[in-house]
Symmetry: C2
Subunit: 252 residues, 2 copies
DNA sequence: CGCAGGATTGATATCAATCAATAACGGTGG
DNA sequence: CCACCGTTATTGATTGATATCAATCCTGCG
């Protein structure tokens, strides 16, 4: 519950040595783009596992790119029921809504310790004026988020419990792999079955029983706050899902 | 199932007389923006009620803005189960994903007869280069779609059947009102309870029973392929939903 | 008149939620 | 070291919500 504050560390990672560059899935920036990003970036910011980074209804003056760590976006109903909307991984943009609209309509919490690259919301206009190619990338990222939400909605609305779980785990393992967060099939993030339940729109107990079924079928193994994927192909088949594209994607 | 083709009617509505201008909720375009849109626009296109405008997995060379009529975006599972993702109303942008990515990941169908303003996907890059303010608006619209999907996901994942129905109907009535599609509380669109069911993630039968409950409580009245809102405030309260913002929004 | 699509209803089946325990584990204070 | 927690995972029993099945009833239309 501790409210994280930006640390005063500035440009610990210069943009031309951005730690995200090592991921093949992320497209390279041109020299002029990197130059713009260097001006755009105002600092870095660290969040502890479990801390809340963005609170629904507030208006954050910042826009972030995740440099490392895992988090998730969620919304809650007045009585506390929670729905996890999506997970946030390295290379993802966080807080765009808040920069465009009056306020954020969802909250964000860190699953692991996280490191962010910080931008001022005001300079977003400048980005659009001065560097159209990056503006295009921002829009691309927004469209990608929409695409993921579409699939989640299909999942929660029309897939059965076991199909949903199969979809979620193969979705997460594919996203994880693309940013080096999958080792021997294990998704390198500490998340609980409560998180899974609130993503799938199921109760905790039923989520547990569903994961056990997948385990009994030999498709996964749940182990200490994480999940080991045993048979990704079968998981995808159970879910009736095509998988993520393997093409490079932008980041800012 | 008939595949609609663009009609050869060009600029029936010049951009400076855009029929969308009459809606207060839509922000005015500057002279230079209107000038750009005139060049950007390549024609108009009409779709019949029930026709499929975009097919999942294909790659449409066009980007559309809805001038009139209602439609919906949806995805299906291999065995045919369908999830409606969102509804499409005048002023909405359609096909952005297809312009940015390789292919569309959802389908679009017309609920009523519809009229679209047509743009070439290639000129989107030009839009970003030449008119940053419109590029910003495109991104704004993408973020707005994301916001709606977030709320739908919360609904399908965590709201009960009656809460979901209450949310959907107040959501639709508010969107309808903003573009003159609400008359005496009636949502002016021909949709069936099957559409409602596939939006809520419920079966058709249960949807019918749920709507009947709302009707018994005096909150709505279902009547010939549409819905009359009797008490919007109570609907919103049942759903635990804040409602849509009333601020002007962009369109392109 | 008969037919098709949509709406409605009752009976039954199934899935998932809830309730209630227990187990396994790490951390903490004595 | 051990007793005591709190968190997470697990399991069985029961309840409740929603799906499915099967009719029937409209209403517009050829």
């Amino acid at each position: 519950m501790a409210k994280p504050r930006p640390l005063s560390i500035k440009h610990q990672h210069p943009c031309d040595q951005c730690p995200l560059k090592k991921h093949d899935i992320l497209r390279d920036l041109s020299a002029s783009e990197t130059e713009f990003m260097t001006r755009f970036k105002t600092g870095e910011f660290q969040a502890q596992a479990g801390s809340t980074i963005i609170v629904e209804g507030t208006n954050s003056p910042h826009l972030y790119t995740v440099l490392s760590g895992w988090g998730f976006r969620y919304k809650t109903l007045p009585d506390g029921r929670r729905q996890i909307l999506n997970f946030i991984l390295p290379g993802d943009l966080v807080g765009l809504q808040g920069s465009l609209m009056k306020e954020m309509s969802h909250s964000v919490e860190a699953l692991s310790d996280m490191m962010f690259c910080v931008f001022e919301r005001e300079s977003l206009t400048k980005l659009f004026k001065e560097t159209p190619s990056l503006a295009y990338d921002v829009t691309w990222l927004a469209a990608r988020e929409e695409q993921m939400l579409d699939e989640h909605l299909l999942s929660v609305g029309r897939r059965t419990a076991i199909e949903r779980a199969a979809y979620l785990i193969s979705f997460l393992s594919q996203r994880a792999r693309r940013v080096g967060q999958l080792e021997d099939g294990q998704i390198l993030v500490p998340f609980t079955q409560s998180h899974v339940a609130d993503t799938l729109g199921l109760s905790l107990v039923h989520t547990n029983k569903t994961l056990k079924k997948l385990q009994a079928r030999g498709l996964i193994k749940w182990s200490e706050r994480s999940c080991i994927v045993k048979d990704e192909e079968k998981l995808q088949h159970v879910a009736g899902w095509d998988g993520l594209p393997d093409t490079p994607r932008p980041f800012i």
